[in-house]
């Protein structure tokens, strides 16, 4: 396999980072940013087609054979995540054109935007655990800068909380790598899988597995480790929040799925019970907390947490159908979640507030916005024929087939909570009349331009398409899940080259 297409997802962001270094004008930065995102999308589509046609793509950096060189591997799951990420990247690069204080911040925003994408894509394609750590740090440092960009007091406060928890997470990650290397003597994921496949000292491996679980759990914001997320996400600029909501936590989920299907499989009894417990509590606590909030971004932030639970549920069921459901859910959720945040940003632009109690009457004023909200909201709630319905349907079917009735019941119940919070936003923002004291205050009507709603239109269209072509997407995720649960092909293609 030729090396170039495999590393395109990290080369393109790197190139555009360098290009953005020398730019001071906001307008040029914006055009260049959108161009870069589109290029990334094209390369992602190419990679997905290539993986669909010829299976796992892999190469090694530096000319050293695996397991000594750093492997770069794109399997079906990586390809799908790359594709969805690049769709979000395109939408956000357009959405960012309205960045507040844009003359000053926009070139900087795009620089760190691309370095974030560099880290995210790097994490998706690497086949080496230490390299994954480095990509996580790239992603983390850029996200630190992005979350505090603007330097208001609130952003700094949220930023410090975000940093505190995530730094501790990456220290767990590094400690886990150290211990795992001490036990196995390798860092290559495929090689690790080969060594650990017939290992019977599950107790010793569990200690590193737990360190990795903590590290990725903090990134993914699972139940006992999620407190940084609702404390910080709503403080950042809405462009940044939309980007983070869609992509960052799912990188944690991606890493969890990768690690716990590829090589931490020695002690299924302990880990699957543990994952079920965490998944159920994550769904339930996140969903319940969301119902109690009245600030759009906070409702949606708690929702991110609740939906992470579904993805973990897919992993915990551990059948091809379950894991496929988890991946499908993650992909659907990335798109829909980003979209809801984008719409929240648009509501804020029209009304100047995120508090649900102070907005209202938007249905009359902007029916288009209402439609744009209802697509991701219904998708999240799981109304057919949108993508979320199929995602939940697959998970619940897998749950019943595996005989996991309790978690399936919880998943169905949390679905109701999701629907409730979405209806709450719908009622408060769109249906109810505008509160009277606000009516007199806001005489100036803000009209949304085409370019403002374009990101939401793009994301909404993809959500609808994912619902219509659900069987095609599902086939591909099932393929991904099958290759994850039976990693012989993965190990083969990395260790022997292809």
């Amino acid at each position: 396999m030729n090396m170039l297409p495999v590393v395109l997802p990290i080369l393109i962001p790197l190139l555009f980072m360098i290009l953005h270094l020398g730019i001071r004008r906001a307008r040029i930065a914006g055009i260049l940013g959108i161009a870069g995102s589109l290029l990334l999308l094209v390369s992602a589509v190419f990679i997905v087609l290539e993986v669909y046609r010829s299976g796992i793509l892999s190469t090694v950096a530096g000319g050293w054979d695996a397991p000594f060189g750093i492997s770069v591997v794109i399997d079906q799951m990586s390809a799908l995540f790359l594709l969805v990420t690049s769709i979000i990247v395109v939408a956000i690069s357009i959405f960012a054109l309205n960045f507040p204080g844009k003359d000053r911040y926009l070139p900087k925003f795009y620089f760190f935007f691309f370095s974030l994408i560099l880290g995210v894509n790097g994490a998706f394609i690497t086949g080496d655990i230490f390299n994954l750590y480095v990509w996580f740090e790239v992603m983390l440092l850029s996200s630190f800068v992005l979350i505090t960009l603007g330097f208001s007091k609130e952003q700094l406060q949220g930023g410090i909380k975000y940093m505190a928890m995530n730094l501790i997470g990456s220290l767990f990650f590094l400690a886990g790598i150290g211990l795992l290397y001490g036990k196995t003597g390798t860092l290559n994921m495929a090689h690790l899988a080969q060594i650990l496949m017939d290992d019977d000292q599950s107790l010793l491996i569990n200690s590193s597995a737990m360190l990795f679980f903590l590290a990725f759990g903090i990134k993914a914001a699972v139940f006992p480790l999620f407190f940084w997320l609702p404390a910080s996400y709503h403080t950042a600029n809405i462009t940044v929040t939309s980007l983070f909501a869609g992509i960052l936590t799912k990188v944690g989920v991606y890493a969890l799925i990768r690690f716990f299907t590829l090589f931490f499989v020695q002690d299924p009894l302990f880990w699957h019970t543990h994952l079920f417990l965490i998944a159920g509590l994550t769904m339930l606590i996140g969903g319940m907390a969301a119902t109690s909030k009245y600030e759009t971004r906070q409702v949606l932030s708690y929702h991110i947490i609740s939906q992470i639970g579904y993805m973990l549920m897919g992993l915990a069921i551990f059948t091809p159908l379950g894991v496929a459901g988890g991946i499908f859910f993650a992909l659907h959720n990335m798109l829909a979640k980003t979209n809801t945040f984008v719409v929240a940003g648009l509501i804020n632009r029209m009304r100047g507030t995120y508090s649900l109690k102070e907005v209202g009457g938007l249905f009359k004023e902007s029916p288009l916005l209402a439609v744009l909200f209802i697509i991701p909201a219904f998708a999240l709630a799981g109304i057919p024929p949108l993508s979320g319905f199929f995602a939940k349907f697959i998970l619940i079917k897998a749950g019943f087939e595996g005989g996991h009735y309790l978690i399936t019941g919880v998943a169905l119940f949390v679905g109701l909570l999701t629907l409730y919070s979405m209806i709450k936003i719908w009622n408060e923002a769109f249906l109810k009349k505008m509160p009277e004291e606000r009516q007199s205050a806001s005489t100036v009507k803000v009209r949304l331009k085409m370019i403002d709603v374009l990101p939401s239109v793009i994301l909404g269209t993809v959500t609808i398409l994912m619902g219509i072509f659900a069987s095609t997407v599902f086939d591909f995720t099932l393929q991904a899940a099958e290759s994850l649960l039976d990693p012989v092909v993965y190990i083969e293609s990395v260790m022997n080259g292809s």
Binding site: F130, Y133, V134, E137, L141, F144, V145, T148, F151, S152, K153, E154, L156, Q157, G158, G159, I160, K161, M163, A164, L167, I168, L171, L174, A175, I177, G178, L179, Y181, G182, G185, L187, P230, A231, S232, H234, T235, K293, Y294, E295, Q298
Partner: protein, 115 residues
């Protein structure tokens, strides 16, 4: 030597956690420095310590176990650089935060949790 370093790792983790639990942001940053150094030492220890021998094999046919493993050292080198970058950024944010609020107290961060 390994045991001595293992104890040092433990002490550093303890000190780091203690510092994390303080209210001052500066002490929090010092805590992060302790923790990250402890983790670096842990990674360094993971291959065992081979004193007085080179890291690379020669063609003379000596036992492999007598050579030092270069990989953890390379990993630690990378991790140290990353840790340095993070600490520098944290200090910059702390400086900015102090300019904005005039305070070094983590309890001042409460407002973002509110409704």
């Amino acid at each position: 030597m390994e045991i001595l370093l293992a104890i040092l790792v433990g002490v550093l983790y303890t000190a780091g956690v203690y510092m994390l639990l303080r209210r001052s942001i500066l002490k929090f940053i010092i805590g992060i420095i302790f923790l990250s150094n402890a983790t670096n030492l842990l990674v360094f220890l993971s291959a065992g310590i081979v004193p007085g021998n080179p890291a690379f094999l020669e063609s003379t046919g000596n036992e492999i176990s007598t050579y030092a493993d270069p990989l953890p050292q390379a990993l630690v080198l990378t991790a140290v650089v990353i840790g340095l970058g993070i600490v520098v950024y944290l200090l910059a944010v702390k400086y900015r935060f102090f300019n904005e609020t005039g305070s070094d107290d983590l309890d001042q961060l409460k407002p973002t949790e509110k409704e």
